[in-house]
Amino acid sequence: MRFWHFKSALFLLLLLWNLGIFSEFLISRISGLNSLLPFLSIGYSNVCHQSAWKTIGSGAFHTLVCSRCSGIYAGALVLSLLAVFMRGRFFLTNTRLLALMMLPLLADVIFYNSGLYNYSKTAAFLTGFLSGSGVFLYILGAFFTMFNKSENKG
């Protein structure tokens, strides 16, 4: 049960984090939130360059991080939700598989920066989604090992 509780807590934290990314879209529904926007933006600036033309959105509202980062955190969120409902070993321990899942993101960054193609928010989001999913499952595997060891000791 302990590991399940931990997985649920992780999902809730990721949900809050992802909701923060979409704060600008939530402003119209929750009054007073726009006063927090600059501070939320400062917070997310620690993890993203926040270039306006790379963020998801149109008109007045945009995500507080770029498409790639949005994809990474969305991938982690979706997999964390799946992990809550999945029994058994739903995590990753194979480093090569992790590297493989991060390869499209790396390729997209290199190819876009070398001028092979123009920046695509869709490509950035999808490659980020795959990487975020992989990293989440890998870290979940590390947490599972930690829980297993502490339960064996206790």
Binding site: F39, N46, H49
Partner: protein
Amino acid sequence: MKKYLPAIVCGFGAGVLNTVPIVKSFSCCMIIPLAAVVSLVLEQRSRGVREEIKTKNAMSLGLLTGIFAALFGTALEVLVILITRNSDLAAGLPAIEQMANQMAAPEVVKQMLDIMYKMVDDIAKYGFSFLYTFSILISSMIINSIFGTLGGLLGMAILNSRLKNDEGNF
């Protein structure tokens, strides 16, 4: 002091890279976790051992790396603001004020906006705002600590997995 050196060195590097716009656009959120991984590698090399990394050590070294990255990053950010007399806050405030006016925001929101404009004015006049510095320090401490700890866990999993593979080969 020697056991904190890898965290200090990698934290400094991550803090510097976080301030450089081009590097940040390349690596996004991966700077701090990567710094934590490198910190673990340096720690093992400095002790001249190659053994299984314990979760507690990985998380504490990752956390320290994140904290040092936050401290160094904030110091550099303050230095850059002192020189340029400009900040990211100044760019975003007019849009927020426009949104607040369109939505007939409550008085407290307008007071918050006044505080933010005061921060921007202080930066333009003196090159420094205590409240803005405090905001970026607190936010980077919290976020870098979390990402550093996660990076430590990630590094632990990767390095322990490599150690098992190497032992298996022998």
